[in-house]
């Protein structure tokens, strides 16, 4: 199993570093699959940073990012103390129905759902919010 773990302040100034690190990790799979998963993971991370910016003193807030390649499955997990709320299907339905020229139409959620095989979120009893995305990876595409 390959694994990358990052724990960083929920500050967008670290986004470039996060993108560089996760993209480097994803070099173990084929370019096209890496690009698609990276886009989805980036969207999950910016949602998390945005939630922290909206709801808390984000400079003091840590977000946790885990990226794993386990057999044929790529798994991305992002945790923060502020995200969450709402039903995924409701968000997706709204984003599909709304006019494409709407500025705020949950495009990020639509893109994540399109780019990965499994996408879910949950809030734990301690208030921690977690998003998990999974994608099957063609082992033929894995760089060994």
């Amino acid at each position: 199993m390959f694994e990358l773990r990052l724990a960083l302040a929920a500050d967008k100034k670290y986004l470039n570093y996060i993108d560089t690190s996760t993209l480097e990790f994803l070099k173990i799979i084929a370019d096209d699959e890496a690009k698609r998963f990276h886009f989805a993971l980036h969207e999950v991370i910016i949602n998390s940073i945005q939630a922290c910016e909206r709801l808390g003193p984000f400079e003091d807030t840590t977000i946790y990012i885990e990226l794993k390649l386990d057999d044929d499955q790529l798994i991305g997990q992002v945790r923060d103390p502020f995200g969450g709320g709402g039903d995924k299907e409701d968000y997706l339905e709204k984003s599909v129905k709304v006019n494409a020229l709407s500025i705020e139409n949950n495009r990020g959620i639509l893109f994540i759902d399109h780019l990965v095989d499994d996408f879910k979120w949950m809030t734990y009893a301690d208030g921690l919010f977690e998003v998990v995305i999974k994608k099957h990876v063609n082992r033929g595409g894995v760089r060994r």
Binding site: K12, F39, H42, I46, Q50, A100, L101, E104, F111, H114
Partner: protein, 124 residues
Amino acid sequence: MKDVMPVISKVENNIQTLQLNGRMTYDFIDQYEKHIKKGIVNADGYIIDLRAIEQIDSTGLGLLVTLAKYFMNNKGKMVIVNTDALIHELFVVSKLDQIFKISDSIVESIKIIEDKDEVFWTGI
């Protein structure tokens, strides 16, 4: 984005080309928007060239929507130049392909803008 000029503008035959560079992502999106808005001139048509973009996300695509609304409200024509398959796929997923005119070159974009029969902003 310290070393990259995010927007390079060129105006020719009353068509402004805005070549976007670097990261069009959440961490730079405010800076990006300021650069673009500052650089827009009065023209008949606008070409938004995405080919030099290093990375784009939903906030970058949202900025394209903001630009589209601005040009539409000012009766301007807008064509996006894109050759990236994933970005095109995301245009389709979000139905932006029904609103944006998309081409794969500047030459083709100019043809679209100068075509008197081409109707803009029809998918709204």
